[in-house]
Symmetry: C2
Subunit: 497 residues, 2 copies
């Protein structure tokens, strides 16, 4: 969409200004827009000019004429196609109270609330002791060299292991294709810096991981959220239409064990996604931090597996599977490898030497695979227990995702529940949850919450979910909530399960 | 300076194009420029227009008329005032062979050349073993928590120690003013990102640390290099004039034990610097990575010590004093603290947990101060030995800095020596040096080299300097170079020494 003010043709400027109002939801689907005559008078333009503007909008499917009634905003375009006004969206996201979702969630961590909020596994489930011993032993062996720089692209032993593992995700990568990063955060940050300029528009999933929204906000990028299907991921039709109409600099997705929903995009759709974006020259930034946490069977393939020409940028991390504090992640930046390397060198120059070596050794000696076997099973069990407890305690009408990997659940509560209010009440009751609006760039998902099941199941967790259920029922105004403990839920089910 | 092509007035465009030629040194001090009549004919403009352009340049002190002789480029302005064309400068810097000085220097490290190139102390002089043991013991004590995130602003214990030490540099800082960073690199990067937009102009010292030039290049910032006095630092008069004429977004300096020269700006000049920049609303980014490496007496104060209102951004690091591979640095971003914190969270989110804790403990328990005492003495001795050897072996006319801290020497070789050629010849002879042009944004300092004295003195180092001296003499075409081993040098001497 051209900015309304830059276009030299009056009728195009007029069309763009209406389009902008639709995008900002000042005009909503089904709204009647002024008649051509009235519009021409209001805008002080000729009737043919006004008509020309309307014709443009009609051709684009943004408005439709109804016989003897006038022009109306089309439902389809307003639902999914129109670009949100990023300033408004981001201001909304920023205006959340408490201001920064990340702050409040980590604050909840620090306050030792019941940990349904942050998407982190319990430290007790991670092999941190083994890693620390591995690191100490490598340090002793290396002597003074343990303190040397590990200049970007970083630890070769680690990059070799990452490349080897990538084969299981269908990716053909060599150590030379990889850059070691400070966790997934730096990987995504470098990917965005490689591909975007301030002011550019980036496609994100709606909902999406709030860390991605935060990256866009700090980098002054515009978010173009595309709805996802809770079983198959981003809506490719909408993506197709949106990228046909809007210049998009990049697309950041979590195709495997999506945060917050947990779906895995089927391979055929990943292939179609890569083809679609590739055809438009739009880089796909793939956040795969949960990709190795399948509950059973082989790990899902990455979208990167279907990338013929380096247009997919793969971001990974061992923060969610080994230790967040080791800060070991990686980036396969494809066509942007050199640019990413240049940026990495000015951002952080080198990674922490011993932590990278420790992770490399743990991957190499099989310790990581042994850990993953038990950790995946723990995630599966914890998700199952948590889902069952939510079924017991949450109000009727609650919908809940059924992830086939990872440890996150996405719950849709009855429409009148305000998850930000629930977030505050829960915190007051000693419980941390992640409210829906933090997963959106425009304050949506008001009646959703994300529940992280990263901790071993316990009666404390069970009781906390009972408390949450009561709070939600109170908000949903379901009488006698405490008495009714069991009720049927409509469940989203994952593909093929 | 307005870009030549954007100005609507013909005479201003003409003036700007001449100014640009002076800035790019296509016209040099003392060069005669065409007569008004010839200029008007060459440019196909009227004589009054040409005269008007010359008058503008004369008013600005860029050219001067000599009676009956014509117009000449003024010495002063060409030396120091004119803004270089950043595109040309940066292209030149990029066109150096080997392309990236950093690459070639680290490549030299990897090839185990005699290490006069990279500004790193010998690992044998750093307490890496003690740090590793400290880290292992903290890891054991913490158990699973050793793997937790250390979210920005980072390790409180470390920030407390940094704040405590800052008092010795005259800085009144609290833990809340500090952000833990991935070494000095991330600190400077965050400082630049806080204060600059792509295309902005940044004042740097000429010469300056090549890591700063690299940051500017990757961030698409323009460099405005200001000459330094080898004893007192950046020329404040020139800085004053330059910042009066040019919109400058930030100023990045190394006031203490400058890289490559080694000077310490006197306190009075630091105070004046802060006042001058503060008055123009220009943030000062102070790189203090060598500040604790004085050869004797108390450590020098930081420019930050004279900062009344948070306009100075202090960047520090333990990479040069403890271990580069631990990646522990810090940032006191003053008025930009919140913005820096926001950027840190999207760039790296958290630092490596155990390395930060290990450094904090080493600072706290006195291990760092004990180490500094011997390390400073080692630096002093090594610098002294290296200077003496350079006096013995280098060609007549060599000038050499006399640093009062750190381990870097800046050598001016006879004018006909090409340090890039010397760099290549030295590498072929198994010796790494840092050629002068990498310390400039425009390929200057062609006959300079930086010699790092980070390693304990040895006959290998002595012999390598003899080889370097022979190579330099050959280039300087001093006959019988091998026979003449001793000759007087004119030395820059540090203030008060």
């Amino acid at each position: 969409v051209e900015p309304a003010s830059n276009n030299p043709w009056l009728y195009l400027r007029l069309a763009a200004s209406i389009e902008e109002m639709i995008g900002r939801r000042l005009l909503r689907p089904g709204d009647r827009i002024p008649s051509v005559r009235r519009f021409s008078m209001e805008q002080r333009v000729s009737v043919p000019t006004a008509l020309h503007a309307y014709a443009i909008l009609e051709t684009r499917g943004l408005i439709a004429a109804r016989p003897r009634s006038g022009f109306y905003v089309s439902a389809r375009s307003a639902d999914s196609l129109s670009e949100p006004d990023p300033a408004v969206s981001l201001l909304k996201a920023r205006a959340l109270s408490p201001a920064d979702p990340f702050e409040s969630l980590t604050d909840n961590m620090a306050r030792d609330l019941v940990p349904f909020g942050v998407a982190l596994p319990s430290p007790a489930l991670l092999p941190v002791g083994k890693l620390t011993r591995t690191m100490a032993s490598i340090g002793r062996r290396l002597g003074p060299a343990a303190g040397d720089y590990d200049f970007a692209p970083g630890c070769l032993a680690l990059r070799r292991e990452v490349a080897r593992r990538a084969a299981a995700a269908g990716c053909s990568l060599a150590a030379e294709d990889l850059i070691v990063t400070l966790g997934g955060t730096e990987a995504i940050n470098l990917a965005l810096r490689c591909t975007c300029e301030p002011g550019d528009t980036v496609v994100i999933e709606s909902p999406t991981f709030f860390g991605i929204v935060r990256q866009l906000r700090e980098m002054r990028l515009k978010a173009l959220p595309i709805p996802v299907d809770s079983r198959t991921g981003i809506c490719l039709d909408t993506l197709d239409r949106a990228t046909r109409r809007t210049r998009v600099a990049a697309c950041v997705l979590v195709p495997n064990f999506h945060n917050p929903i947990g779906f895995v995009m089927p391979d055929a759709r990943k292939r179609e996604l890569v083809r679609l974006l590739g055809g438009r020259g739009i880089p796909l930034i793939e956040d795969d931090v949960y990709g190795e946490l399948q509950h059973e069977g082989p790990r899902p393939r990455c979208a990167k597996a279907f990338d013929p020409d380096g247009s997919v940028i793969l971001c990974g991390s061992y923060s969610k599977t080994l230790s967040p504090g080791y800060r070991v992640g990686f980036l396969a930046a494809g066509r942007w490898h050199e640019r990413a390397l240049g940026l990495k060198k000015i951002q952080t120059l080198a990674g922490p030497t011993l932590p990278s070596l420790a992770v490399a050794e743990f991957l190499r000696n099989g310790g990581y695979d042994r850990h993953l076997r038990s950790f995946r099973e723990a995630c599966r069990r914890q998700v199952e227990e948590t889902r069952a407890a939510i079924c017991r305690y949450f109000p009727e009408g609650t919908r809940i995702s059924r992830p086939s990997g990872g440890h996150l659940l996405w719950c849709e509560l009855p429409g009148n529940v305000d998850s930000l209010e629930l977030f505050r009440e829960a915190a007051a009751a000693g419980i941390s949850i992640a409210p829906g609006p933090v997963f959106s760039s425009d304050g949506g998902f008001r009646n959703f919450v994300r529940i992280s099941c990263g901790h071993p199941w316990s009666s404390r967790l069970d009781q906390s979910l009972a408390v949450l259920g009561r709070l939600a029922r109170k908000q949903a105004r379901i009488p006698g909530a405490e008495q009714r403990r069991e009720h049927p839920l409509r469940l989203h089910s994952a593909a093929g399960r």
